[in-house]
């Protein structure tokens, strides 16, 4: 049992008003020294069977064609081991 995490972020050049709204709120809340905030999406995919290269390639395709819109978004794929006991 493994978990694959896909992080989707707006490309750096794309305006992110939600991130900016968070960033503008920070000084008001007493958090100084944070110059930029960008908001993204995290997808946790629970994968049946082994996460081999073929499985990762399929997830890469899935991320590229569906989870992210590559016109505006970048994405990363990484594997996260899940301990069986925790559920």
């Amino acid at each position: 049992m493994a978990r694959v995490v896909v992080d989707v972020m707006l490309k750096p050049e794309i305006l992110d008003p939600q991130g900016q709204a968070v960033q503008r709120a920070l000084p008001r809340l007493g958090f100084e020294g944070i110059s930029d905030v960008r908001q993204g999406k995290r997808f946790e995919l629970e994968v049946d069977g082994p996460v081999d290269e073929a499985a990762l390639a399929r997830i890469h395709d899935l991320a590229e064609s569906f989870l992210a819109n590559t016109v505006i978004e970048d994405f990363t794929v990484k594997v996260e081991e899940v301990a069986e006991a925790v559920k």
Binding site: I14, L15, P17, Q18, F66, L67, N69, V71, I72
Partner: protein
């Protein structure tokens, strides 16, 4: 003989009945298409209407874009089938890469509903011949994710090829780049815009203007004269 214009209903589509009414008022025959349809029932043109298909979850239009009906639609649109995407329909067309660019959340982060002033930039597309280039019209606008973005190269190309079909006037309601409200593909058969022409087809109702009717009379003339 009149033209048969399909209107696709996805789960979460909202303006399907309104769009059918607009088509009827223009004198054409509306045909209800279901998102699971595997063919387009020989319609002469298709409108992807407004709404929140699949709740706009993931991204606006991103899930609907993979509905069964989209397969024949994409294929036939590339072969010249006239397709109009309104609001969510425009978002679906960009997600399906039938139109370039993408749609993001409004820059002010609020839903916005207003009677929006537009300029018709291109009166030669399949859906705009009953306008004149430069004409100023008012069409209701209502969206959460209406900020049109594309890279500079694409924007320049759109401008150079006259494919910016509509531009916001007076106020840019969502932060769209270069005030773009609607665009077309290269051939001019596929048009997408954020404002809702189907809500401006009857005096008294909605904005009380009929500035949206020419979308539907334009396509009807084209199809009947073809």
């Amino acid at each position: 003989m009149t033209a048969r214009i399909g209107v696709v209903t996805f789960p979460g589509s909202l303006d399907d009945r309104d769009t059918q009414r607009a088509i009827r008022l223009a004198g054409a025959e509306p045909v209800a298409l279901w998102h699971k349809d595997k063919d387009l029932h020989q319609v002469d043109a298709v409108v992807l209407c407004g709404g929140f298909s699949y709740g706009d979850y993931l991204r606006a239009g991103a899930i609907a874009r993979f509905s069964p009906v989209m397969e024949p639609l994409i294929e036939q649109a590339k072969a010249g089938l006239p397709v109009l995407g309104i609001c969510n329909g425009f978002q679906i067309l960009t997600e399906a890469h039938l139109l370039p660019g993408a749609m993001l959340g409004n820059d002010h982060l609020h839903f916005i509903c207003r009677d929006q002033k537009l300029r018709v930039e291109n009166a030669d597309t399949a859906w705009t011949t009953d306008y004149t280039a430069g004409q100023e019209i008012h069409i209701p606008l209502k969206n959460m994710d209406g900020r049109y973005v594309a890279d500079e190269y694409t924007l320049d190309k759109l401008e150079a090829e006259g494919r910016v079909a509509f531009r916001y006037l007076g106020l840019n309601p969502n932060g769209s780049l270069r005030d773009i409200a609607g665009i077309s593909n290269e051939a001019g058969n596929v048009v997408g815009l954020m404002p809702h022409p189907e809500h401006a087809v009857e005096p008294l109702i909605g904005s009380g203007r009929t500035d949206g009717l020419p979308f539907f009379t334009s396509i009807l003339k084209k199809l009947v004269n073809a």
